[in-house]
């Protein structure tokens, strides 16, 4: 068990800045998810920790050791690859204990440890099969077993669930979370699935274009996204983002949208000195914070019903507001009754409103 620290780490492939000036510190036993869209540098970051890539600049520490230039084998890590990378010519038992074989452990001791680990991962009955003879979920567990078998300091996961079907994925997710808490090992987990990150992580690091744009506990990142990018990436459906213009007078501040005007009361305090009159801003509203109404209110936006999608415990109601679409999650046994094209209003509480500069940065 150990902490993992990045200090100004960059990895450039020619002119591609896969990871750029990334600094963070992950404490002992923590579960951190690296979250971001395709190509943002998640895998590269993980491979830098594993030693499969060498940093262009910066410094990486595991525990109290600098590992920036160490070989993978000297870093004491366990890694689960996206394709599981099980060796097709070896039995499951041999696959699981390969790290022990490399360390010179005898056959009997290896078998014993394989049985131990396999039992705790519920694959003990598969030990003598080959990877081609077991299911995807079982392959995933085998791969996890191989990563934990030598009790490494740090676990690395590269999208380990992406090859599983939806149902199995949920099961495997709970299982991974349970396992990590049971073992208490520092884990770094790469995913582009925000729900997975929210569910698993102690802290989420959201990456964009090779940088970490925000790092914090899932709920903090969810509730106070640092940029519109983060706001848009977390949540399903994502946060509604609307272009507005600020009208600032001595007494009051007004947000003017295409079909609505919102008067900001006490909140105007927080805008002072940060924004200026006439500035274009972005207003953000989470779908679950919107309620449907037939009448306008001082905190509402008007639009025409665009689509209603019942999902069981909730329904997604999408309104066309000017040129943009705004989605609300309406909870309740019955989906709201409204016809496409009808006028409707979405209400919200003022403290639920997020404000961002046009550049995307959050206004506190």
């Amino acid at each position: 068990m150990a902490s993992v620290t990045f200090e100004g780490v960059s990895k450039h492939f020619g002119s591609v800045k896969a990871v750029h000036d990334v600094s963070f510190s992950i404490s002992d036993g923590e579960f951190v998810c690296l979250l971001g869209p395709s190509g943002c540098g998640k895998t590269t970051t993980l491979r830098l920790i594993a030693g499969l890539e060498q940093a262009t600049s910066g410094r990486i520490d595991i525990g109290d050791r600098e590992v920036t230039y160490l070989n993978p084998k000297d870093r004491d890590i366990g890694m689960v690859f996206q394709d599981y990378a099980l060796y097709p010519h070896m039995t499951i038992a041999d696959n699981i204990t390969y790290p022990l074989k490399v360390r010179g452990l005898g056959a009997a001791a290896r078998r014993k440890r394989a049985e131990e680990v396999a039992t705790s991962l519920q694959i003990a009955n598969l030990l003598d099969r080959r990877p081609g003879q077991i299911s995807g979920g079982q392959q995933q567990r085998t791969s996890v077993a191989r990563a934990v078998v030598h009790k490494p300091q740090v676990f690395l996961f590269d999208e380990p669930l992406s090859n599983l079907d939806a149902k199995l994925r949920l099961e495997a997710r709970s299982f991974l979370k349970h396992l990590q808490q049971e073992l208490g090992v520092t884990a770094i987990y790469v995913t582009h699935d925000q729900a997975e990150a929210m569910a698993l992580a102690d802290r989420i690091a959201v990456m964009e274009g090779g940088r970490v744009v925000q790092m914090g506990p899932p709920l903090e990142v969810y509730r106070q996204p640092a940029t519109t990018f983060v706001a848009n990436f977390l949540g399903s459906p994502p946060m509604n983002l609307l272009r507005v213009r600020l009208e600032l007078t001595k007494q009051q501040a007004m947000l003017v949208g295409e079909t609505f005007r919102l008067q900001l009361p006490q909140i105007s305090e927080r805008l002072k000195g940060v924004v200026s009159e006439g500035e274009a801003l972005i207003a953000g509203l989470r779908p679950e914070h919107l309620h449907m109404a037939n009448d306008s209110d001082s905190w509402s936006i008007a639009g025409e019903v665009y689509a209603i999608e019942p999902l069981g415990p909730e329904a997604l109601v999408t309104l066309k507001v000017g040129d943009s679409l705004v989605t609300a999650r309406i909870f309740g046994d019955e989906p709201p009754k409204a016809n496409v094209g009808e006028k409707a209003y979405l209400l919200f509480e003022p403290e639920r409103l997020h404000l961002f500069k046009a550049s995307g940065e959050r206004i506190p």
Binding site: A50, G51, L52, N71, P72, K73, I77, G78, M79, F81, Q82, D83, A85, Y87, P88, H89, Y98, P99, V102, R103, R130, P131, G132, R146, H150
Partner: protein, 276 residues
Amino acid sequence: MRLVRYTLARIVFYVTASLFASFFTLPLLWLAFAPFNEKAALSVTVPDSPSLANFGQVFKNTFAVRALFQNSAIQALGAMLIVTLFATLAAYALSRANIRGKDLISYGLVLFSSVVTGTAAMVPIFLLIFRLGLINTHLGVILVFSGGLLPAAIFIMRDFVDSIPRSYEESALVAGASPWRIFMDIAVPIVRPGMMVVAVWAFVNVWGGFLIPFILLRSPEKMPAAVAIYSFYTEAGTPIITLTAAYSLLYTIPVLILYLFVNWRYGFRFFGGIKS
């Protein structure tokens, strides 16, 4: 109407195919029957009273027997080992190392291979082997064959190595294995079918090669079977058909056995890919 045309087309197809097939089967049939026929001629006839007399005659020719079971074996096995081993190592390096223009090297090699052991190169090859003092040695023959076969062997092996996902090696790296260990534990077992194909192919090439040993060897004690078969010719230069037939059959058997073994054990294929 369409049915008639379809049927006619099929008939024409099968007749043509049969003609071609018999054209190629006749020599094989001859090889199956003639050795057991004391009066064999160049026509395919089922012997009235099959006998092993021809083989008895052949085994009296110690020169030819040694050529087949000793010299051909040494040369073919030697080149087979060298080609398989070096092709695998080279293919691994070409596939995995960061060498600029490595694809160019690979394709260039294949072009070269036809040149190196081609007849046109015989004079320089002879001079080279002569200067190395390897004329009239098995080693000289083995090296020249290996040099000629390696490029294509590397090319075949590269396809097999390329089909191993990088993540296999990376996971072994993370597990703590050294590069040599990874090569032996992960890469070799996975590309073994390819190594077998290359081995058989190299063996067959040397086994059947005539020109190189004929030119590089001097003493009859070192000649392989492909050359020794001429000892079953009369002074006038015509083959004694009965003996040539028997010797040819003996000559084919090791190759057949090797092929059948590899095919049974690994399956014969010329491309990579993981069968899990």
